[in-house]
Subunit: 106 residues, 2 copies
């Protein structure tokens, strides 16, 4: 069977991490800034901010005493590749998604 990149799927399997990704899509954020948006402790958020780069979904760079977290869109590639195996099956919702993209490309 085709080798599957597992870590990106694992990273996406948690609701908090998906929310973090959506937040980072709009603004790069430090660990503390991300933590402010959740009820759990900073340590818990920090753990998610370890799983996400493990899955290649974000990149982190240290700047002084803080660390910036930025989304890495290419990290979604393995997921997209996998979904690509279902080309022939995709439904109308995907078709709509695609058609939206087509407009952009033309």
């Amino acid at each position: 069977m085709t080798h599957q990149e597992h870590l990106p799927f694992l990273a996406l399997s948690d609701s908090t991490r998906r929310t973090i990704l959506l937040m980072l899509r709009d603004h790069n954020m430090t660990v503390a800034q991300v933590s402010e948006n959740f009820d759990v402790t900073r340590a818990a958020v920090k753990k998610h901010l370890t799983v996400l780069p493990d899955g290649g979904l974000i990149t982190t760079t240290k700047r002084g005493r803080e660390r910036m977290n930025a989304p890495n869109p290419q990290g979604l590639a393995p997921v997209l590749d996998w979904l690509g195996f279902f080309d022939a099956f995709w439904d109308d919702r995907l078709t709509a998604l695609k058609s939206g993209v087509i407009k952009v490309m033309q």
Copy 2:
């Protein structure tokens, strides 16, 4: 934050389940048939064959003493919807995926 359908992501977070989905893409299969393709016990496979319909990714129908498992492509919709939030970020790989689709649509 946007409500997120969690179960489909959960279902996709396990390698065995992803492999099962790829198998079912080609042929509908019974529990036993799916089990034949893995080293783990039938009971373990059966558990996966409970998580998958929970996530809406497969449908199961009982026929006599066996149960057929079939992929449900629409179950991927929540995942696709979520990925849609990253439209502006998507990389070349997705672009290629899309362009393949464009050919089909024209």
